[in-house]
Amino acid sequence: MIFSNSLEYEKITSNLDKKNDIITIIGCNTCIRVSGAGGPDKMKELAMKLKHDGYNVKDGFMLPITCMEPYLFTVKLKPEVNTIVSLACTAGTSNIKRNFPDYKIVETVDNIGLIIADTNKGVLKIAMPYKKHESKLGAEYPLGSDGKNRMSKEQIPVKVELKTL
């Protein structure tokens, strides 16, 4: 599973234009929901905040798996939309960028790496981080906590180490 953390709201809005951008949000309902940086509730929260702050958010689509093209084909954008806010991990965002090349795409998360999850304990563990997040190797967080409340004691007994080719 892929672990992502939300970017600061101001960082997201710094890439949006209140006057000219007509926005659709495309969200993913898999790993990013488990991470706590996406999913239907997070999408509504972001949409409402953007609307409240004067951004022109038209609508949103919640897809089961955004990194797979067939699901992306179910998105029917309104003709006036020119901007897509991607509530998906890097993989999902790449898919959106490739399939909607003429739209402005705004990212909302940072990819941390791959995780192991335990749904009984409600915990996830970072197993294969990207280089800039190497210090988080082995870190554990509650499911859906968006990288907050790091746990002090190990919950998932899996030994993890940095990978090289």
């Binding site: 999913g39 798996i65 179910t74 790449s94 999850a117 294969m128």
Partner: protein, 405 residues
Amino acid sequence: MIISLRDISYEDLKNKLNKDDKIVLWSCNTCIKFCGIGGYDNMVLLENMLRADGYNIIGKELISIACMYSLAEQHKKSIDKKNMFQEATAIICLTCEDGFETAESVFNDKKVIKVVKTIGVGNFTMDRGPILTAPFEWTGLEQNNQGYSFPELAEKLHLYPTFFDRKEAAEDNTDENISLTINNKKCTARIGMTIMQACEANSIKVPHLCYEADLTPDANCRLCLCKVKGEKELVPSCATPVRENMEIITQDDELEHARKILLELALASHEHNCLTCSKGNPCIAGNCELQSLVRDYDIKETRFQQNKEKLPVDTSSPVLVYDPNKCVSCGRCVRACKEVACQNNLSFVNRGSKTCVAAGANKLFNQSACVTCLACVFACPTGAITEKISHFEGDDWLETNVYQS
């Protein structure tokens, strides 16, 4: 999705095994399946290759998401499988490295063998299959939205672009094969195969709804009934093992007539509104098998009265929609939840025409122990359990269903 490529040859894999090893194949049904390395079919292929080369495969285990530690533990402790796992000395992991680390920890008293290198995350595309878009830095590759294809990655990173090749193993041991006749045609099958598997191996199509290769046969839909010489009754192809010199008829006027009636009865208990059903069109989770059969049998309408009380559609889950009105009670979701997810969260409730599948203690999905692994969605042959695709709009951010079309 997580992108992984095979990084050992078949010879290297054999070198990691001993002839006296008791081997279990362990695979994930998610990303690695779309990478062409995991999933049930690849486990069967590798099992056949290793068996032909004299290795002792004692079982295959498919897990819905192998990087979920809790699911892996539940598989290991499952009443049906714990003897197999206790006996095993080697586990071959057809999972990504994330899933491998989980398996290595869960089976820490066994030799756990990995066959892939996980190199980052990417997409599943319609024209190029899986591609890598966000590589791990140690690959030396830049992030690229257009993505790197598997042949390109294999060349750059010295990995293999495909799964093991059947030709690399010895030929099938003919001692294990038997002769039989299917529809008056001489055929061969392996000892232990069911009639359905023997038919598939000989390119003979037998209609079925409740059968799925990676699940235990249940023989409840009765569509695959066939005639076996010497048997008084019709036998279910999916649950009857083949015997030497068996004479089988899978298709004649009587069987076809019976199947047509069964399909009409299924339609009578099924809300048949294909134009507003996602399973009416091919999608990642397959297409509607009931609709395909109805077309094959040229059924325009059912002669039987609609006999099922209309039930509310459950949209409480964040990831799936359960419409009990489209359920044909094949039980594939129940078995997938038990066998692939190891959750036992789905079961049948009530009796007779009121029988239906329910989550938890007959609760809504979001009130049950569902871990949203989608095993049931991928197993369902109709539009009863489908992935949720939603459109949100308006001041109140109202949700409406989007159909895959």
